[in-house]
Structure formats: C-alpha cells, structure tokens
Amino acid sequence: MSAILRFLLAIVSLCGLFALPASAEATHVHAELIAEQNGVSADGGTITVALHQVIEPNWHTYWRNPGDAGEPTAITWQLPPGFQAGDIQWPYPTREAVPPLLNFGYSNEVFLLTDIAVPKGLRAGDHVTLKANATWLVCEKICVPEDASLELTLPVVEIGPFPNLQWHEKIEAARRQVPLKSASFPGIFAVQDNTITLFFKPTLDRIEKGEGALFFPFEQGLIKNATQQAAVQADGGFGFRIPVGSAFRDPARANVNKIDGVLVLGLEPKRDGIKQSFEVSLTRGAVPALPVAAASGHVGAGGEAPIGLFTAIGFALLGGLILNLMPCVFPILSMKAIALVRSHHAERPWGDGVAYTLGVLATFAALAAGLMALRSAGEDIGWGFQLQSPLAVAVLAYVLVLVGLDLSGVFEIGGSIQGVGSELSSRNGLVGAFFTGVLAVIVAAPCTAPFMGAAMGFAFTQSPVVIFAVFLTLGFGLALPWLLISLSPHAVALLPKPGPWMVRFKQLLAFPMYGAAAWLIWVLSQQVTPEGLFRVMIGVVALAFAAWGLGVAQARGAEGRSRVTSFIATAIGLALAIGLVAMPFAQASTTSAAVSPASDALSGEPYSEARLADLRGQNKPVLVNLTAAWCITCLYNERVALSSKAVADAFKETNTVYLVGDWTNRNAEIARLLQAHGREGVPLYLYYPPGGEAKILPQMLDEKTVVATLKGESR
C-alpha cells in the first residue's frame, strides 16, 4: 500500500506542487543546486554548479547509461543572457544489482557537476539567478520519476569570487570522481561466440594490473551488465571477457567499431580510497588471448554471490574428495581396497593408481561432453541426468550385481586371480583399474555432494573449456586419495600382507555391492511401473544364473573338462537378462510417484511453477524442496532434518507450505527453478518468506537451520 502511496506522492510532486524554489523535497530524493564559489565574477569566467541529490537509503538514481533499465538524471537550464551551461560531468557510477538485472547509478548522495560560462560585463552588486528543471528516476523495488524546479541566486562580485566554504570540498571530491579524459588506456575489443573481450594496454610508467577494474560503457546493449567483471592480465595489459549485450544480436548493429566508456581502477576493498577513473575508447581489433580466469560468472539470481573460477575449481576438488565418503561410492572403494592389497608386492603399484585416475577422468570428461551435447539439443537436464533413464539405472544395477557375484566367488572377471599379486603389472590389471575408475564415477555421479552443486552451476554458465576444467578437477578429487596411496611406498607397506583372509574379506565386500544394487532397484521403483520393476528383478536373477554358468565353465576349464553346457547356460541367462531390460519401460506416472520424502509428520505438495506463484500471491511462506530418489544427500536431509516433529510443528506454526519437486524423472519446471538459482542438480532448498526474495538453504540441512529459517530467526 505504501508503495502506491509513494507513487501517488510522486505524481503529485510531478505536477510541481511540492517544488520549492531553492531546493525540492521530492519523495525519495532531496535535490538542490549548489555552487562551488560564493558568487560570479563581474569579469566573467566559469563557475561550477552541482545538482546535489540526497537519495533515500537503498534507492538509487541513474548514470548517463542507466544499465539494464532506468533513466539518467537530466537538467534543463534557464540562464540569464550570455550564460551558457556545459554538459553534466558524471562521476563514475556504482553497479546497482537488481537480480537478474544490473543498473549503473548512484546511492546515498551524488553531485552532478555542470560548468557554467559567465559572460563579461556584469555589474558588481547585482544578483544572477540560475534556474534548472531537473528530472530523474529513482528506484528501489519500484521506480518513481521525480522532478524539481530549482534555482540558485548568486551575487556578482568585483573581488573573488571565493570558494563556498560549505560545499567547496564536497564539489572538489566529486570532481575527482569524474573520469579523466586520458590517452593512457588505449583499448581494443573483439567479439567472438557471443563474448566480447575488452583489452587495455596502459601506456603508463607504473604497472597497472587492472586489479578490481570495472568497465562502464556509455552506450546500452554492448555488454551483458549483470556479469561479474574480473580483469586478468595478459600481454602487458589487462582485459575482461564479458557476454555480449543485445546490440550484438542484431546483425545491423553488430558491426560496432568503437566503444566508449569509463574504466574505473582500484575498486577492491584494500585499495579503497585510491580509485581512479578514465574515459576510454576501444576500437575493434585483435586482442591477446586472456587466461581462463578472465571468464566472468553471471551474477547469481536471488542475490546469491556468484563464485569465481578458482573457487569453483577449489569446490570441485573438495567435492570430489568428499565423494569418496558417500555411501554410493563405498562399494567401489571396497574394490579398490582389494586391488591395492593385491598389488602389495607388485613392482609398479603406482601404475594401478594412475590407470584408476585416468579411468575416473575419462568418464568425467565423457559425462561433461554428454551433458553439454544434450543441453545444447535443448534437453532440460542437469547433473544426475544419467540416473533419470530407467535403462541406465537397470544396467547399473546389473553391473553392481555382477561385481558382487565376482567378489562372492561365483565367477571370476578377467580370468584367474589365483596368483594374487603376481600379475598386477600385467595389462589386465591396468585395464581393470581403468574400468574401476569408470565404474566409480558412474555410481558416484548421483551423489551431488555438498559444494558440488555450486561448482556445477558455475561451470554451466561458462565456456566448454571451463566446464571441462571443473569436471576434471572433480574427477581428480575423487581419484586423489587412491592415487596418493598407490604412489606412496609407505602407504602401500602399511596394508596387511596377502593371505587366506583375503578370500573371506573379498566375499564380505560383495555385500555393499548387493546393497548398492538394492538401492538402484529402489530408485527404479520410483521410475517404472511394478511390471517394469519385476522385469528388472527377474533380469537380475537371469544375470546371476549366467554368472553361475560362467563360474562352472571356469571351474570345469581348470579341470580340463568340457565347458559347452555351462556356456549355453551362461548365454541363455545373459540373453534373458538383456532382453528383459531392452524392452521399453512404461514410465510411472510422475504425480503418483511424487516422493513424500519426509515422514507422515510432514507431507508436501508436488511443486509446480503455477502453485508456487499462487502461494506467493497469497503471501504465504513456502519451503521448496527439490529432490530425487537417486540423490543420497537429499534423502539424508529429508530423514535427518525434515522429518522431525519439531520441523513439522514449525511448518504448522508458521503456516508454511511445503512444496516437493521430485526430479527422479526429468521435469522442465524443476530444471528451470534449479537454473534460476545457479544450480545444476538436486538437492536445492528454497525458502520464500511472504513477499520476499527466495533464500537458499544449505545443501546439508539440519533441524535447527530449518526451524530457524521457518520462524525467521536466521540471519
């Protein structure tokens, strides 16, 4: 209501009713004209006059290029004969983020300077009145056009004029913020693949690294404004890579040859106070290749700070390391344990570690490529997509059962492992280690570990090279612990000596495999009809039969007896197993399958864009949980943080509506919501306070955080 009231007030002020002669009290901006000197000289000259705007906290007025929206402040002068006003000398602006948009403007207070030429021959003792009609737009959540008729009366003086003691310093400070016209920063720009590269090669004696530099173009539509600008050094200068603005998406305007604007240096906190700004001009030309760190992240939606490349790489490494601890990777680690113990006396244990690492990296590269190819084909998918296909889940379950059967001793993969430790350096061992790496990634992928979501979200706003860098770092993190152990003779020496215990240990390790297979079958139960689920389970039995047949064949072969019958059994089992999953699956209806992940204490409604908009329209608080059956982190959070009575009570008490978006199967609306918050995978927890911005909750939830968020007690 108050917004409407303010708007009405603005309209009233627009009519000039509130305009006062010397200064004007508009609703959100106090404006006045002030002069740098206490009079004008009877001999003429120049006087600097400022339009001083005092802006209500959190509101802003606009620079000459307002950015994504808005309108620059304008001044129309009515001056005595012979007086002439120059253009506004704009101090450099600040970036005013209104996610997903970004404007260029001023907060709190600004002095817009104008030089006014004073004619000769004025009579000392007279007064001159400078009149100005100023219009501006002031915005916070809403925008209000305001205007003011202002005037300033100054004496004509014979001696002087002298500085206006009240304002001289402020005006002097404002003048220091007006960009210098300088040839010290010749610039070149180039446009390629919807990215514009701006490169500056300073001609200064001192070294200018461009730290904290920001570029503000004079024209709209040249660069994507809502982009973090991170200058990087190259070739004796520095530059930015920024997504292009809309002008470059019109062939008639894309051939711009010159870009003018303002370069602001030293805006980072530690150098605060020595900001310098220059008016610069860039011409089209060849730019040096900028290091990848130049890639600029999009300003995240919802006001969440975007993360930079190095942070993303760091998180990716950490995420990869954490993957080793996730329950879905545990069976694979079991296999690595066996492999390492086997390799105890091998000549080159590091070969195993390297092959495993390569397997992990190759699979991550393939996943990244697949994800990018599918997304470019317009699929609404994200991280974890590999488990959104029932066929992929069924095949993974088969693989895990087979590995389990191998560990149980039903049959042996890759021929004899009788001579434990003796054949390790053989080709077979290395290939085996490579495929163990492949398997580790495929099974680990759905466990979007904490930290990984943000890194993935960052990666997919970037160039393919950066996407690969993030994915490969993630893989390296996953492989790192085993790589280190295999590379260190001391670590290997710490492992127990091989012996008969190994057979039983190996058999024991089969059980995590069966457990993981059971989990995948459960995931499948969310995706397919009961008939399809039954087919896969029979398929598993057929697979076990095939494995048993192969085991018998291996045993008979060792005794030198005929293996034909057992091979036939294997073939029948395999054919049946493959045939059962090769038939298309009828998809379970998504609505009925909507996971109600929390216990009975807290039941959610299925998420939809319309439902969320509807609830927000009613000013109801909403907690959105984006989850998937194959996401272990999600299920953990739902069990630990979302199913307690305290949480259910907090929901009831605050009348918060709980919406659950189930991403077990593909869903475009959920993919959109994830992308809107810079995520590529689940889990994502969003809290919408009544009428407020969405708040992203941590990926690892606890009961306290949830309750505090609902009750509005969190920071």
């Binding site: 917004a3 219009t135 925008c143 693949d193 990244a368 927000r616």
Partner: protein
Amino acid sequence: MMRLFTVALAVALLSPAAVAAPTVGQPAPEFTAVDSNGASHSLADFKGKIVVLEWTNAECPYTRKHYDSGNMQKLQEDATHAGVVWLSIISSAPGKQGYVTGAEANQLTISRKAHPSAVLLDPAGAIGREYEARTTPQMFVIDRAGVLRYMGAIDDKPVASPASLAGARNYVRAALASVEAGKPVAVASTEPYGCSVKY
C-alpha cells in the same frame, strides 16, 4: 582412452551455447505460458501469424505513459485488427510491483481498455529470462515464420514524461508495417527503456 577424451572434447567444443538469447533474424525462443483465463499458449501455436510480445507492469510509470495516454491501446487495436497476435506478458514475481492474478489481469484489460490477444502470466520470470527482458515496456515482433524481426523499445523517447509521446518514433508500428509488407525492418533492434522487470 586418449581417443575417448579427444572425441568428448570435440563434441563439447562443437556444441552451441546452451541458451540462445533472442537474436534478430533467428527463430524467436519458444515458450509456453498460461494466460489470464487459464488457457495455455505456445509461441508455436501462432505460426503463420505475426506476433507481438509486450512486457508490461501496470504500475510502472513508463508503462503508464503509454497506457494513460491511450498510445499502447491504439497500437494494440490497430495491430490486432490487422490480424496480429498481441501477447502482453507480466513477469513480475508474486509480491513485487505489477504482479497480478488472472482475474486482476482481466480487470486491468477492461479498465485500461486494452486490446491484447492474451495476457500471459509469467510469475516465475521464465519467459522474461528466456527473452532477457529488462524493462517494462519492452517489445518483440515475430513474423509469420516465427523469426524475430524486432526487439527493444516501443519508441525513441526513453523518458517517463507523457509529453515525450508527441513526435515520438514508434519502432513497433514501423516494424509491423515492414513485416506485413514483407519488407526488411529498418530499425530491427533498439535498447529498451523503462522500469526494470520485477523478477
């Protein structure tokens, strides 16, 4: 293994950017949205017709400049009489300025005497983000083949003052005339002006 990696990298580098921003001369981004009466519309439904997209926010002073003066309604009326599909799109998020329910949107159409073919509700801002809509008003003209022919401001006077309407050059009217006559659009893009879209 190296081959696998090389192939993967090649696939990745060849794939175009994941999100295609609206580009003049290219097919306009596809969307599906629910209108103020609950009916669902896709851009593809209007193949064969010229489509105008108008981002709007009834409380924004710049939008009001065009509605309070009757300028927008006149343009809507002329366009829809000529068989153009006019879609007014509201991307304001719930709780933010300009957000309306379907019933309120219909009420606005009546009270403002507007003539859109439909008012699309985009409270999640999905279409807005897809089209990189920045301001209200912001306009797009799509031809009969679904190709984007104009994007940007409604006219060449980027100010809130109603006085600016006199003598303004209306880019949308010009673009519609060119598209209808099968001629190239002289000014195919401009920078939109107005309030920020209240995502």
